[in-house]
């Protein structure tokens, strides 16, 4: 918070909430009644509009927290206790409870995979994040193409982390085809790390661009699928709740449509359309060359026309306008976000980590509640101040699937776990559970074997070369005999390599050493 009266504070009007004085009450900031009223604050809070409720909640939270730099005076402590009490009552009244939790250890790799699975998008990896083994195989590709079936992903330890999620199991064939096309050595699979695989996924689906994103999913991400399901199943209820909140009907219908068709909940991204034909829309449609013979002024715009124009990126032709003729912008209206009820870091507390991206672990919620309430107790701490536990707001009723406000009447409940799809999904995923530590131990063993084999191969060839060098000039007959033997061995290896159509690590080393020897001779 800027210092009271500072230049910054004056410029940005930052002196507010927690430092309110009596003059603020005179400014009729209705949310302050929650702060000053100790008796009926809960009722007052319920009656406030949503934007004021958020202000009241944030103010209480700031008042409840100990001051960062200076010590607290006795009056500050009383105020903090009082605010904490009010927050607790408000939380309970809207179905939330504050819990103190200890940390479950979850690896960086697992968290990385969970994120990718949730959004269906893969991050491009900077080169230094890739393992040297993977980089080695990128620079040393096979001379010939190997059939995709030779890439056995079940033998790749790091891939087992991905395999726990259905979305990644579904793209295994695409990855195999990509690796085959790019002439990767199948040996690489056993040595690759999680981030190496995300690089492969990124490159496999690089051309699959939608809104500029690189998606690896053929269908929707679990997040978007969830939003679509909620919109389709509870559409009428959502409209009723949002209407009651006093939101513009055109925004409500456009939001619902965007949720149903695209899983979009970000109001900035939503094109708000008119519900009925207006003179301007008919003119615009005519100008765009769309026949308007069947459309009449004041009639409801058919949803098929809206969907068609949206698909063609021409939704702006139906854009809703205010009384001044300006297009209604989505940013004027609330946005919604998807929250993980069980935190990703807590995935280990579930039956298996893939469940963290199941429908019943998602909650659709306004972005303000998501940021300032549900994640309101998240804190960024320096490494030296990390605590063994953290505080998090949990839902009292785990079946809550959407909350459009604080009031319980704006909450929607659903038990997704009874559906057949859910049960099937769960049964399937349960077969692919792995222990991260075991998988990493396997990767370490594979790498150890790889290195020892490489060392052995190098030792063998080097020792032979040394012997030949030593004998050169001493026993020329022996030298000729030895070189003939080597040539024979080389031919035999080359024949085997062609038969298998795969060059193993040993073969690569052998071939290279042989080439090296030839060059020297």
């Amino acid at each position: 918070m800027a210092a009271k009266g500072s230049k910054y504070a004056r410029k940005h009007n930052l002196v507010e909430e927690s430092q309110e004085t009596n003059t603020d009450v005179a400014e009729d900031k209705s949310f302050l009644s929650v702060i000053y009223d100790d008796v009926s604050f809960l009722q007052t809070f319920d009656e406030l509009p949503f934007s004021e409720q958020i202000k009241a909640y944030r103010t209480l939270k700031r008042l409840a927290e100990p001051k960062k730099c200076n010590g607290m005076s006795a009056s500050d402590k009383i105020l903090a206790k009082n605010s904490e009490y009010k927050l607790e009552k408000i939380n309970i009244s809207c179905g939330l409870k504050l819990e103190e939790k200890t940390h479950y250890a979850l690896s960086q790799d697992e968290l990385h995979v969970i994120r990718m699975d949730c959004y269906g998008a893969v991050d491009a990896r900077p080169s230094h994040q890739l393992s040297r083994y993977y980089k080695h195989f990128i620079h040393n590709r096979l001379a010939e193409v190997v059939p995709p079936k030779k890439y056995d992903l079940s033998k790749a330890p790091a891939w087992q982390i991905f395999r726990q999620f259905k979305n990644f199991r579904d793209i295994e064939n695409d990855i195999k085809k990509y690796m085959s096309r790019e002439r990767f050595n199948p040996e690489a699979l056993k040595l690759m790390e999680v981030k190496d695989f995300s690089d492969v996924i990124f490159k496999t689906f690089q051309d699959n661009n939608k809104y500029g994103k690189s998606f690896f999913l053929k269908k929707d991400s679990p997040r978007n699928t969830f939003v679509k399901k909620v919109a389709r199943k509870f559409g009428k209820q959502i409209v009723k709740i949002l209407r009651k909140e006093g939101l513009d009907e055109r925004y409500v219908q456009s939001l619902l449509s965007a949720m149903k068709h695209y899983g979009t909940t970000d109001s900035d991204k939503i094109v708000i359309t008119e519900l009925e034909f207006t003179p301007r829309i008919l003119t615009d449609l005519n100008k765009a060359g769309i026949s308007c013979e069947d459309y009449h002024l004041g009639e409801k715009i058919p949803s098929s026309l809206v969907a068609d124009l949206m698909r063609e990126d021409k939704g702006y032709l139906l854009a809703a306008r205010d009384e001044n003729g300006h297009t209604l912008s989505g940013s004027q209206f609330p946005s919604f976000e998807v929250h993980h009820k069980t935190a990703v870091m807590e995935s280990n507390s579930l039956a298996f980590i893939a469940m963290v991206n199941y429908d019943d672990n998602y909650l659709l919620v306004p972005s303000e509640i998501h940021c300032h309430v549900l994640h309101g107790f998240d804190r960024l701490n320096s490494a030296s101040h990390k605590q063994a536990y953290h505080r998090r707001l949990e839902l009292i009723n785990h079946d809550t699937t959407a909350m459009f406000g604080f009031n319980k009447q704006t909450h929607i409940h659903c038990d997704w776990s009874h559906s057949k799809t859910y049960q099937k999904h769960m049964k399937e995923d349960a077969e692919y559970i792995v222990s991260y530590d075991e998988v990493m131990a396997q990767l370490a063993t594979n790498r150890q074997n790889y290195l020892s084999r490489a060392k052995e191969a190098e030792f063998d060839v080097d020792s032979i070369v040394q012997i030949i060098r030593h004998k050169r000039g001493v026993d020329s007959e022996e030298l000729i005999k030895r070189s003939k033997e080597l040539k024979k061995a080389e031919k035999k290896q080359a024949k085997n390599w062609k038969d298998d159509n795969i060059e193993t690590l040993d073969e690569i080393i052998y071939r290279r050493k042989a080439q090296h020897r030839k060059g020297r001779r």
Binding site: R58, Q108, L111, A124, Y211, K213, S214, L380
Partner: protein
């Protein structure tokens, strides 16, 4: 950075705030310092010159006030969520905070619950960090 800016410009879903005002940058840096936080790194300021705060699906990059979307205010956000003295929060998604760690001179994605480092990017790799938090990618 320009490539990323062009890419984001093509993405219809990100909310684009007004261009950055230099005077406001100075005031914001002063305010962050007053809060005991490190100053914003030059590469991030370069990015803010193109996009002063933007919001995407479940994630956001914070900007320097005044902003049309008050939820993107970097000063307010740091005041509410930052208890460190060597990191400044630049954005967030449902999983973590995107921060600049002044001590390590790196961009980091830090888990909201455990403060564990999820991703780490060098000072000159801001574009990877931004793509990571916005769940977009390009090549």
């Amino acid at each position: 950075m320009r490539k990323l800016a062009e890419f984001l410009a093509q993405c219809g879903y990100v909310h684009l705030e007004k261009p950055l005002n230099v005077k406001n940058v100075v005031l914001a840096q002063k305010e962050l310092t007053r809060q005991g936080l490190p100053m914003l790194p030059p590469s991030f300021l370069d990015f803010l010159r193109q996009y002063n705060g933007l919001s995407a699906q479940d994630s956001k990059i914070l900007g320097i006030p005044p902003l049309a979307n008050a939820n993107l205010d970097i000063i307010e956000f740091n005041q509410d969520f930052n208890q460190s003295d060597d990191m400044v929060i630049l954005g967030c998604d449902d999983f973590g905070f995107l921060v600049y760690n002044a001590a390590a001179k790196t961009y980091q994605l830090i888990d909201k619950d455990s403060s564990m480092v999820l991703e780490e990017f060098a000072d000159n790799e801001l574009e990877y960090a931004v793509m990571s938090v916005l769940h977009v990618s390009y090549e």
